[in-house]
Each structure stands twice: as C-alpha cells, then as structure tokens.
Symmetry: C2
Amino acid sequence: MTNPHTEHLRHFEELAIGETIDLGHSTVSKDMILTFAREFDPLPFHLDEAAAKTSLLGGLASSGWQTGALSLRMLVDSFLSKIASAGGLGFTNLKWKNPVMVGDTIGGKVTIAELRRSETHPQWGIVTLDFDIRNQKGAPVMSMRLANLVETRP
Amino acid sequence: MTNPHTEHLRHFEELAIGETIDLGHSTVSKDMILTFAREFDPLPFHLDEAAAKTSLLGGLASSGWQTGALSLRMLVDSFLSKIASAGGLGFTNLKWKNPVMVGDTIGGKVTIAELRRSETHPQWGIVTLDFDIRNQKGAPVMSMRLANLVETRP
C-alpha cells in the first residue's frame, strides 16, 4: 500500500552502493560549544578556556557528541529528509580523530556502503552509511558507520 | 609530574574491570525532544505528533542521538567528572533497541569492560565502558561501548 506521507521521497530501491552525499558545512562557535557542553558534557575542557588549554585538546573544543549531532543534522538536511527513512538502528566504529576547536568549520561526505533488505520485514531495507567528517584544513575529525531503516516500494 | 588540576581525581590505576556505575535517571519531556530535534534531527517523527503516530516509532520519540547525549550527561555526573579523564576516543556497537517516548525516564548502568595502558604514551590508559540504558519499564533502549582516555599516576 502506498504511504502518502513518504511516496514522493526516495525509497530503498532508488539508492545505490557507492553513492556519495555532500554534507555541506557547519561552523562551530564558542557559544555553540558552551551551550551543548553545559547540557550534555559539562567537563572542564569543554567549558573553561584555561582548563582547556592545559588539557590534551589544547584549547576549547566541542564535545565529541556535539560533532556527531552536527554531522547528523547535516545528514538530515542533505539526505535523510529526502528518503523514506523509518529511523536509525545504530552506529559502529565511531572515532574522534582531531578535536573541533572554536571557529572550526566541519563538513565532509557520506558514502552508501551497504544496502540490505530486511529478511523478516519486506517493507524495509537497511542502508549503511560511512561518514568522513573533516575540518576546514581537510584534517579528519570523525568517522563512523550508521545503519538506517528505509521503506521499500509497495 | 603531578597535575594539580586532576590530582584529587581517580586515575587509571584506581579503576577495576567489572566495576559498575549507576547512572541515575533522566526524564525526557516533550519540550526536550522538540528542542533537540529542531537543532540536530529535524525529521517528522521527532517533531510532529501526527507524523510520529503513523511512523514505526508509534508516537513522538527522542532522537537516538539525544538518548546518547543524555546518557553521556549521566555518565559525566556519575563517573567522568570524578576521574582524570583526558577525553573520549570513540565508541562502537551503539544500538537503539526501543524508542524513548515523551515522559519516559531513562537510566541504567555502565560497566568497566577493559583497562589498557597506552603503549606509546605512559601518561594515559584507556578505559572501555559498556552502557546498558533502560526505560522505566526495564526495557532496553540503548547499548554502546565507549573508549575513554584516563591519566595514569605520575
């Protein structure tokens, strides 16, 4: 049966392994770092510039979880809002490779790594996405692999 | 050399495999779900009750990334703020097992699964933490394994 809410969106059958999605960019301000850290990751190296300078990060840096959330937002805008997504299943192999400092601009690309139909639920497929997030200098800041449910065509 | 900023905190040597950390609890309101989703995960099933009802989630549910961020906050309060943490390295095997709906209370425990000294940097060790996040009915909502750097004693 056709779903009027998602009919106009790309479905599982219209995705291809190797397709790459340009995530665009997001610039991380001091205020964004402090607001997120106060709510979710209130450790000194995300909140206090003096403490951050003496830390491994070398200065005020975003929570790694914030880098992930900003990457998710870029994926929603560039891809997830355009497919018949039924939700995320999970992540694996998330690695924070370099800190994201105040004023850094992050962006990157996502590649469709795997496409698999659900064996038990023919109305869904699973798309596996590899993230390669970099800063404005081209240095890697985060990689991860996301598994997401997508509707198949009726 | 002793670090006056972290001297009073638990170091790598004072952690033990099998130690469990009680995360306490966090109740997820509709306002929290909408605020997070607008910024990081603006998909219909996190923003619009009518769309959420017809989705796989069955109602307004938090972004999985928000469930992770709230779990991180509980870990900061119960553990990371009490150890000489130098930052997260990454995580693996994150699985969202059940949606977190408006009004749900999540909590759970974290277990120290592995302790490993850095081969190249004697000032650090790596603590690996297994998360078991559940809702107020005891149903699992998220599991993951986090790797975090911790200072060793000088």
